[in-house]
């Protein structure tokens, strides 16, 4: 044998727990030993906290989350500043961040959704380095592609074993799925689970080998807060009319057929739509292949009654969905990457036949805003909006045409969240506007149905006749945030609001 080949191998150093002299650094205890610390302060003392660090949190406990506030309050008390937060979403419960933003403890935020309570201070210009509003799918891309490096991921884990094998399906504060935490767990420099339930875990979503520490606390959140903002079907007659009209459109456009796949939001109109679709599946004996999202009781009903083959779930919006994903093998947990990372070849969004989404604004070119409200203040964010619009064969926006004396259709959109190229239809209580790229569909529906198909500009005129032309939102030239597309490109800038 060639001596050069023999000499290319380093000599054996002996077997110890941690091998550093060989070609690879190995620690046979990593992933397997007891990582639990039951004192938060002691745990944080052991972490490499410093000014300017980047911390991440997921939002699966939604408005019942205690973890972000618990950790950030402690970090703020230790005097650290200039922290970047990489959070999948922020809810009203995270209001303690407001003072931290004003005091420049937190100076930059990456998020797919920011509730208005926190959005206001960002729109007022308090967040020194601004906010990067991205999609759920792009969050996975940027973490996995290392465009953003997380120093410490603090991940609420409803149930974990001592080594850090964790799941969202078990525990006092079960939230169902931990889809938005997976990329954080895989890629962060340090991964810390915070849990109130330490027990054996059968099917972990987060694997021990990714985890450095487990902090045991009394409670990670309030289970009631997990339930999404709206999980009851709307009783508003206008909302019901829009839902029914959307179901009529979906059926007339040939989208409701055996093997169909779809996603809707969790608002009252969306839930009414799911019920309409369910009824039609029952009467026409149609079985869908899958629904995805954001899951609720109504999708679970369809699955359990056999009208869907699968649900692909990246987050649970109510406790029925939490129960179903735990017990039903046809209800499948997915990560954010599998759900909506458009660089991931087998992503779910690109398999959707249609998606039904909301809007705060839509312009006459079909650009959609779900990031800022009619007052220019950040009050939401893409979430999966732009991702699903990109992937689905048909993107349907549903909204009241006029609400609170304002038209949803605008001549100039405040913030582009989802670009016009990926939006196909707007359905309102006064008419349906279909993008001209679907002229065949327009002609077909006009000839064969009584659906009120009209040009979006006509709908806009109808709205403006009722509301008058609204005053323009006043803002300064200072940019307080950016709206990124699913591929990380810049869609729009968000400006500081001008206050009187």
């Amino acid at each position: 044998m060639d001596p050069k080949v023999i000499n290319s191998f380093k000599p054996y150093q002996g077997t110890v727990d941690v091998i550093k002299g060989g070609r690879f650094e190995c620690d046979k205890n990593k992933g397997h030993h007891d990582k639990v610390i039951d004192d938060l302060n002691k745990a944080l003392d052991q972490l490499p906290l410093c000014d300017g660090m980047t911390l991440s949190f997921h939002h699966h406990l939604r408005d019942g989350d205690h973890v972000l506030n618990m950790i950030m309050t402690n970090i703020a008390q230790r005097g650290y500043k200039n922290i970047t937060l990489v959070v999948s979403s922020l809810f009203p419960v995270h209001a303690p961040l407001i003072d931290m933003i004003k005091q420049q403890i937190v100076t930059k935020i990456y998020a797919a959704y920011i509730a208005k309570e926190i959005g206001i201070v960002i729109s007022q210009g308090y967040l020194r380095d601004g906010c990067i509003m991205h999609t759920h799918g792009y969050r996975a891309t940027m973490l996995i592609q290392k465009e953003v490096i997380i120093d410490i991921a603090f991940l609420a884990a409803p149930s974990t074993d001592q080594a850090g094998n964790a799941t969202g399906s078990e525990g006092i504060t079960s939230c169902g799925v931990l889809g938005y935490a997976i990329a954080d767990a895989q890629m962060a420099k340090h991964v810390v689970l915070i849990s109130d339930t330490i027990q054996d875990v059968r099917k972990p979503e987060i694997r021990a080998e990714w985890v450095d520490m487990v902090i045991k606390v009394d409670a990670i959140g309030d289970p009631k807060g997990i339930v999404s903002g709206t999980t009851t079907i709307t009783k508003d007659p206008v909302g019901l009319l829009i839902a029914k009209r959307t179901a009529d459109f979906v059926e007339a456009a040939g989208l409701l057929k055996d093997g169909f796949s779809f996603q809707t939001g969790a608002g009252g109109i969306s839930l009414a739509l799911v019920q309409e679709i369910y009824k039609r599946c029952q009467t026409q004996h149609i079985k869908g292949s899958f629904a995805s999202g954001g899951t609720t009781k109504f999708l679970v009903d369809m699955l359990e009654k056999g009208y869907l083959k699968n649900i692909y779930d990246v987050q649970c919006f109510d406790l029925d969905a939490v129960r179903s994903v735990k017990n039903n093998p046809a209800h499948i947990k997915i990560s954010a990457q599998e759900y909506a990372d458009i660089t991931y070849k087998d992503n779910i969004v690109c398999k959707l036949d249609f998606v039904v989404l909301g809007a705060t604004e839509i312009d006459t070119s079909y650009n959609v805003n779900v990031t800022t409200g009619s007052d220019g203040i950040i009050m939401g964010g893409s979430g999966g909006h732009a991702d699903t619009a990109y992937g689905a064969k048909m993107t349907i926006i549903v909204s009241k045409l006029v609400s609170s004396r304002l038209s949803v259709i605008v001549d100039q959109i405040t913030t582009i969240t989802t670009p016009k190229e990926t939006v196909d239809v707007l359905i309102t209580e006064r008419g349906i506007a279909i993008h001209p790229r679907h002229q065949e569909l327009i002609d077909h529906l006009k000839a064969t149905t009584s659906l009120p198909i009209m040009d979006i500009k006509t709908l806009y005129d109808i709205a403006i006749k009722m509301t008058g032309i609204p005053n323009k939102i006043k803002h300064t030239d200072k940019v307080v945030g950016v709206s990124l597309y699913s591929d990380g490109t810049l869609l729009d800038t968000i400006h500081q609001i001008k206050e009187d």
Binding site: P237, V238, L240, L241, K400, V402, E429
Partner: protein, 283 residues
Amino acid sequence: MIKQTALFIPGNQPKMHISADVFGADCLIFDLEDSVAIHQKDSARLLVKEMIQAFDLSYTEVIVRINPVDSSFYQDDLKEMLQARPDALMIPKATKAVIEKVEADLKHYNDIYPNETLKLYIIIETAMGVETALETCLASKRIIGVLLGGEDLCTDMKVTPTKQRIELQYPRSKIAMTAAACNIMAWDTPFVDIDDHDGFKEDALMAKALGFGGKVCIHPNQIDIVKEVFAISEKQLKEAQEIIEAYELAQQQGLGAFSYRGKMIDKPILERAQQIVAASSKE
């Protein structure tokens, strides 16, 4: 114009006003009476006036239910609505004397607020109103429709409304018959359990069988049910068309009487068939 559905909209609810016309009701009844609290009567009046003047509701019939003539709100209601110019006013607690008073007031205001084309719907909602329905319906040429007010009637009769509406059997028949005699529209009383869609449908079917031409709705969800119940079915239309064809054939052959599927067809049956075909073409 087909007027099977009439939707009540509280006059003090602007959110309901701006979407009132999207539900496909044949008529909209903006209400200044029972659905509006006393301390909001004046703002409701102004809201309704502004609504009618600002919005294009030309494809639906616009009706305003004003307050009773013996109330302190009646005169202001009348004056403001004459300026708003709805298609019709709806007069509650109607009797012959009430209608005569309304007619007199309309005539009095005609020079300032021309109202010769203004129509009236009346609500029969007392025991005396039921018994004197014919003279009330004939009290003015403006009257084009009558509504039975079942809840107020039960109060007047001191009976508790039943689910089967037994207490309304006679009044319903009486009002439907009176409307037919006067050749005006008859709308059946509202059904207040808005979540009971099956019960509402049964009630609407009863109303249709008794001869009502439509039913008042107090929730948009009721509109489609009324349309379904009162629609002429394909089977009915086909049969009516066949009767007319058989008649025309008989005429060509110089036959006076003729049969259809083994039944002799006389004039009332033929006229009913012609009404069905005519009504169907308007739907």
